[in-house]
């Protein structure tokens, strides 16, 4: 909840221009949501394929997961068209989490066999 006091129509000019130039329409949002649903279905389908080697299954699931992740973050959360500082704050946290926890799991020999 905003504790700042400013008139409702005051957004800084920068933001207005950005929004105007990259306004994603409701229809596009629906299409994106459909894409995400299809991708989810594909993920599930891939696990059903009998005889698929794990070396192929796991990376493909991770890739699909990552695509869904970044699509939601970039479009639904509007990060793609927003100020760089937001990307900075969020992606440093995300990258940090991935790197640090992967390193930790590696010391447990998690990725070896």
């Amino acid at each position: 909840m905003s504790t700042d006091i400013h008139p409702t129509d005051t957004v800084t000019h920068d933001e207005h221009e950005t929004h105007a130039a990259h306004e994603v329409s409701d229809k596009q949002y629906i299409l994106i949501a459909l894409f995400l649903a299809v991708l989810t279905a594909m993920e599930v389908a891939v696990t059903e394929i009998a005889g698929m080697p794990e070396a192929l299954l796991v990376p493909s699931l991770l890739i699909m997961m990552a695509i869904k992740f970044f699509v939601v973050v970039s479009y639904f959360m509007h990060l793609k068209h927003d100020a760089t500082i937001f990307k900075f704050g969020f992606y440093i946290g995300l990258a940090g989490a991935v790197v640090l926890y992967a390193a930790m799991l590696a010391t447990f020999h998690f990725f070896i066999g």
Partner: protein, 667 residues
């Protein structure tokens, strides 16, 4: 005196459905407090300066509590077969000493400086989220009280400040002490996390016009790096603390080896937080002396960009070295090698800072004020601690040193010699700014020298007894294990204990100094001929900080307004064209007409109280949890729904009897 505009018919109050929503037409009991004097003006304040002072005062109290705990430890170890503390009490003592010093003294004292100084150094009137700032303060205060209440409620935590599992689980730590520790740290973690978000947004978004990032005062830079470290490190220990909490209270098996758990999970999670934590402890002090050294060397900070980037580098690399705390835990040679190398790497940016500080002093006109003494003390003492740190980085030698007093020596040199000396430097430097009086320089010298002599006598011998084989966390030593010769464990332990008494007295002299200085005449406006923006305010600053938001033209803005460069051909020669008083007067002459300050609020303190109640509930009764949760939810809604400012009628009436637009309110 502040010129505060009272809201009459402001656009800030929402207009919905044609009617004007005013504070009193909605929820009458959600009014905002308006007292400007008395205890309520402190309890419900959202003013960063008052909050900073309270952070500092409470931190000092915990400093002496933690120091007392340390003295008990040293008294126990001063002679063989000590009887001052039982083994169980000893475990509680070293656990609480470390927990108190790290979480309840150094971190909050650094927060005190950050809260007080960042807005002033960037030309702002408060932080980005003033009520969140108050929440941070009270959550810290109640968290600290909560942890320490364990002393009276069955015993304090006794697993060491790093609380290794499974030693921390119920079979081995049956009292509630560890739960007090876990829940208390979850509370202080909330305080730090919220404060981190607040100060990052403040430093990035509320700088005065013209203040680019590379014109920001260096203390603000270091504090900003620290807030990022907190932002990303606190969630990690939060996970660890919850896992431990669930283990102890709901019989989860996260650290039960019999069920297949790996105790190293705790160690990793703890040290993933714990290592950035030590940079969180020391970087604010690095920032403080980066302000103090230039002022008292009459020279700008040498290599400001290097100091900035090395600070950021320390923060970043600091996340990559955590397992050097686990060299002897069975990680395996590859992990050990990797972390050994990364630990050596972090010495580089730290060394860069030492060089920059030394070169700042080189060729300068040194003024050995007490603040300067503490700053130089940091350089010397921290370097000593860093040198022993380098020996730890070499994993084979660390295997010899780990869990001995050699490590205790290292971290006390870097924490006490680094973080604490820096904090004292800051207190002497900024005391006139915050309280409007100078601290006595003679007492200051005694304070400094006794602390230096005391700390070196206390922690210096620990290098020796560590290499002589004395393990950590051992509640007593015996004559026949003390080794041969005169200079054995017995001798050095005694020296160390005597040193700790001297250190204690030295620290108490600071309180003496505060007391004897309380009736000093008002400090001059610019006592140190300082360089940075926070000095373009009165001592102490007015409630609204700056009469008008200054426009920044360079780094060390205050300095450049006083001194003009009259050098030729690329040479720099500075001539004073204005005094500090004149610079301040100039800003006052152009004061803003309308200054709107954020109003105080009850809800941050109430929310913190709710969290405190929840914590007691987890230990004693689920019903109490429900009560605490209800208070928290009520406070959240109160916070969201309270009017953005106090009602008209609550302010002092206008002296002219007419329409209130602006008038002087008592502040």
């Amino acid at each position: 005196m502040a010129i505060i505009e009272r809201p009459t018919d402001t656009p800030a109050l929402a207009r919905v459905g044609g009617g004007l929503v005013t504070p009193t037409t909605s929820y009458g009991y959600f009014r905002r407090p308006v007292q400007s004097t008395g205890w309520r003006s402190w309890a419900f304040t959202v003013d960063h300066k008052k909050i900073g002072i309270m952070y500092g005062a409470v931190a000092m109290i915990f400093f002496f509590i933690g120091g007392f705990e340390a003295l008990l430890i040293r008294l126990q170890l001063a002679q063989p077969d000590g009887t001052i503390l039982s083994a169980d009490k000893y475990n509680q003592m070293f656990t609480m000493h470390a927990t108190t010093m790290v979480f309840l003294f150094v971190m909050p004292m650094a927060a005190a400086f950050a809260n007080y100084m960042i807005p002033l150094q960037i030309g702002a009137r408060d932080v980005a989220f003033p009520r969140l700032n108050a929440l941070s303060l009270w959550t810290f205060v109640f968290g600290g009280i909560f942890i320490n209440s364990s002393w009276f409620l069955g015993g304090a935590a006794d697993g060491g400040w790093f609380m290794y599992a499974p030693n921390s689980s119920v079979p081995f730590s049956p009292t509630n002490g560890v739960d007090f520790w876990t829940l208390g740290l979850l509370m202080t973690g909330v305080a730090s996390q919220v404060g981190a978000i607040n100060l990052i947004v403040t430093a990035l978004n509320m700088r005065a016009p013209g203040m680019t990032l590379m014109r920001m005062p260096i203390f603000t830079w270091m504090a900003l790096v620290v807030q990022f470290l907190l932002l990303f490190a606190i969630p990690i220990i939060t996970v660890a603390l919850f896992l431990l909490l669930f283990q102890r209270n709901f019989d989860a098996t996260f650290f039960s080896v019999a069920d297949g758990a790996d105790p190293l999970l705790w160690q990793h999670l703890f040290w993933l937080f714990g290592h950035p934590e030590v940079y969180i402890l020391v970087l604010p002090s690095f920032g403080i002396i980066s302000e103090v050294l230039p002022t008292f060397s009459r020279k700008p900070l040498f290599g400001y960009p290097f100091v900035v980037f090395s600070g950021a580098a320390i923060g970043l690399v600091g996340f990559g070295v955590w397992a050097h705390h686990m060299f002897a835990s069975g990680l395996g040679p590859i992990s050990v090698a990797v972390f050994s190398v990364s630990t050596m790497a972090i010495a580089v940016p730290t060394g860069v800072k030492i060089i920059n500080w030394t070169l700042t002093m080189w060729g300068g006109k040194l003024w050995f004020s007490t603040a300067m003494l503490f700053a130089i003390g940091l350089i010397v003492q921290f370097t000593l601690g860093g040198l022993s740190g380098v020996t730890h980085a070499v994993a084979p030698s660390d295997t010899q040193q780990t869990d001995t007093y050699y490590i205790v020596a290292h971290f006390h040199y870097v924490i006490f010699g680094g973080a604490v000396l820096g904090l004292f430097s800051g207190m002497y430097y900024w005391w006139p700014k915050v309280f409007g009086k100078m601290l006595n320089e003679t007492w200051g010298r005694w304070n400094f020298w006794l602390m230096i002599i005391g700390m070196n006598l206390t922690f210096g011998p620990m290098h020796i007894i560590g290499l002589q084989g004395q393990p950590r966390r051992m509640y007593r030593w015996t004559e026949n294990r003390a080794g041969e010769g005169f200079f054995n464990l017995g001798f050095w332990n005694l020296v160390s204990s005597i040193g700790s008494l001297i250190l204690g007295i030295g620290a108490l002299l600071f309180l003496v100094n505060i007391w004897v200085s309380r009736k000093n005449p008002p400090a001059p406006a610019d006592p140190w001929d300082a360089r940075s923006l926070e000095w373009i305010t009165t001592n102490p600053p007015k409630e609204h900080n700056f009469d008008r938001t200054p426009t920044i033209h360079s780094l060390d803005e205050f300095f450049h307004r006083k001194y003009e460069d009259v050098g030729e051909d690329g040479q720099h020669e500075y001539k004073q064209v204005r005094t500090g008083e004149q610079v301040i007067a100039e800003e006052e002459a152009h004061a803003d007409e309308h200054i709107h300050l954020p109003s105080p609020s009850y809800w941050p303190m109430i929310l913190s109280l709710g969290l405190l109640v929840i914590c007691y509930g987890v230990i004693y009764s689920f019903l109490v949890i429900a009560v605490g949760a209800a208070i928290v939810i009520l406070a959240l809604f109160g916070w969201a729904l309270e009017p953005s400012t106090a009602d008209d009628s609550e302010f002092d009436p206008p002296s002219d009897g007419g329409q209130p637009s602006k008038e002087l309110a008592h502040v």
